[in-house]
């Protein structure tokens, strides 16, 4: 085909790619994951048992979805510190609706809408108010968790729903439904980021906001959109969280915040914006979940676990350098 030959001489050879530091930086999470899997499997053969893989994948689902949302934000050189609290607010909204007897569907919808609204608020304040992302989402982190407490009056609502239960326990083979949802989210996100105009504009907004503006891209609208995406995905995560623990709690879920950012950065996405992949953060999230799973399987003492996690995170990042 004429087109193909036109393009092929420009396709960089794989050998060149392999020598390129940037390439390895983007795939550090994968290398880290593979190393981790090999080590853990050698030390404890149950690690790669179907049952354990299945539970790791389910455990990773929420983190993956949050990280995908975070990736969009970080690609615009922003950061969403409110993801975890937004998820909490979504859960609280769901819980109240469910407790009021509005049914599963309406409750799900309300949970997602509440979370999406936090995203919209983030986006509007950041874009129109031109305030640093960090401080705005730090503010909504606090505000959303406050709202969740107020809404739920600080009490968890136990949710016993067969549909939700099967969401967290059922699946196809070793792939639980919640993991499959996470995969679907990641695939859609990949298409949006790399195969739509919007995706290109997200990267341009992050990489060179002034240039994007000069080319007529409304960086404000892009900013609002990415925060809305992040909020909406936090809402979706809230449903998976409720399905998983069987309750809608106003608890703070702080560990999800730093982990979502860590997954994105381990996934090779620059915090300075303009570059990004979806597969990277996806693998980054798997890496973090596999790490804790493996350490627990090995029976590493609770005091040594944080140390081990810290060292592995730094080593995974260092991988990018050794490959040169």
């Amino acid at each position: 085909m004429a087109n193909a030959t036109l393009v092929s001489p420009e396709r960089e050879a794989w050998s060149t790619k392999l020598k390129d530091v940037g390439f390895w930086a983007e795939w550090a999470a994968l290398v880290g994951l593979v190393v981790l899997v090999v080590v853990f499997q050698a030390l404890n053969p149950t690690f790669l048992s179907p049952g354990n893989i299945a539970s790791m994948l389910v455990a990773a689902a929420i983190l993956i979805i949050l990280s995908v949302g975070q990736t969009f934000v970080i690609a615009t050189a922003g950061i969403d510190l409110s993801v975890a609290s937004t998820m909490t607010l979504g859960a609280a909204a769901f819980g109240q609706a469910y407790a009021a007897g509005w049914g599963l569907l309406v409750s799900c919808l309300l949970g997602v809408v509440a979370a999406a609204l936090v995203g919209v608020v983030n986006g509007v304040i950041i874009a129109r108010g031109r305030i640093t992302d960090f401080i705005v989402t730090l503010g909504t982190l606090s505000a959303a968790s406050g709202l969740a407490l107020i809404l739920a009056d600080g009490k968890p609502v136990t949710i016993i729903d067969p549909a939700l239960l099967s969401l967290s326990t059922g699946g196809i083979g070793i792939f639980g439904w919640s993991f499959l949802i996470a995969v679907a989210v990641a695939v859609i996100a990949h298409v949006v980021l790399f195969h739509t105009r919007f995706g290109t504009h997200v990267l341009a907004t992050g990489g060179a906001p002034e240039s994007a503006t000069a080319m007529g891209i409304s960086t404000q609208r892009v900013k609002i959109a990415v925060y809305t995406i992040s909020g909406t995905l936090a809402g979706l995560s809230a449903i998976l969280l409720i399905a998983r623990i069987g309750a809608a709690e106003p608890a703070s879920n702080t560990s999800f915040l730093l982990n979502s950012v860590a997954a994105v950065v381990l996934g090779g996405v620059s915090l300075f914006g303009g570059r990004g992949t979806i597969i990277g953060p996806f693998i980054g999230a798997l890496l973090l979940v596999a790490l804790v799973n493996g350490l627990t399987l090995l029976g590493v003492s609770q005091f040594y676990q944080p140390l081990a996690v810290g060292i592995v995170v730094v080593l995974a990042a260092l991988l990018t350098r050794f490959q040169k």
Binding site: N3, L6, H195, R197, T200, A208, A212, G216, R275
Partner: protein, 262 residues
């Protein structure tokens, strides 16, 4: 040789073939008066040059016309209508493409992505519009090969290009979309001889194809070589205009430096 005062519509006579007219445009940044009552016109199908010292306000005027800044006072007419662009997108919609002095490229995107930035070609796939990467890459190759000498690969990221290669990309982009007016803010500043020659060819070709061009340049030889009309700015003011045919490099230098006033 008479000095044409920068009265709107007057320089050179005819008023009907005016494409762009600025009337008393002013803009200050804090206490820096970047533009002071600037009035000038630009004729359809011509190459108009804008010259002046560093900091004279040329880029600021360009940014007003291309929708980045909004003048604090004064009016701008384009193609017959008074315009008040709210964004660069409006200006591009109206048919004004600009090669900014800072190039306005996104370093982390590839050459073809930059060329089609906010002008992406899409294919409808059911409800969604998906980028037609192949079409854009093929078209990008064509666009680039008309201009550059060391042709940059259209799939390489702009970050990897040399200064001159970047300039070539920015120019390709402005020339590549059918527009009424192409503004070029020092398009050959970083270019080598061969590239400069190609850009000059391209500028002439654009004119011959019916586009109008506003060219900002410190290279007066080039200005004399290419332009039909020259406007001179000094310290935020438009201090004079000349038909190129009736002037010389020396006269322009004296206008730029203010020697003519003394």
């Amino acid at each position: 040789m008479t000095t044409t005062r920068p009265t709107p519509g007057v320089p050179g006579g005819a008023g009907d073939d005016t494409l762009l007219r600025c009337e008393n445009v002013s803009l200050s940044f804090g206490n820096v008066r970047a533009l002071v009552d600037v009035s000038l016109t630009l004729r359809r199908g011509e190459i108009t040059a804008l010259v002046g010292d560093n900091g004279a306000g040329k880029s600021t005027l360009v940014r007003c016309v291309s929708g980045i800044h909004r003048p604090q006072s004064g009016r701008i007419f384009f193609d017959g209508d008074e315009i008040a662009f709210h964004s660069p997108e409006d200006a591009r919609e109206a048919g004004i493409e600009t090669v900014h002095q800072n190039l306005a490229l996104v370093e982390d995107l590839t050459v073809w992505q930059n060329l089609f930035l906010n002008r992406e070609i899409v294919r409808r796939m059911g409800p969604v519009a998906v980028l037609d990467r192949r079409a854009m890459q093929a078209r990008a190759k064509e666009m680039v090969s008309t201009l550059a000498v060391n042709v940059p690969a259209v799939r390489s990221r702009v970050r990897r290009l040399s200064g001159g290669q970047r300039q070539a990309v920015a120019i390709c982009r402005a020339a590549g979309f059918s527009s009424k007016l192409v503004i070029m803010d020092e398009p050959t500043a970083a270019l080598g001889v061969q590239e400069t020659a190609r850009v000059e060819e391209l500028i002439l070709r654009l004119r011959d194809e019916g586009h109008s061009v506003l060219l900002i340049s410190h290279n007066f030889a080039q200005v004399i070589r290419l332009s039909d009309q020259v406007w001179v700015m000094r310290a935020g003011r438009c201090v004079g205009g000349r038909r190129t045919a009736g002037t010389t490099g020396e006269e322009i230098v004296s206008l730029v430096t203010g020697a003519a006033d003394r």
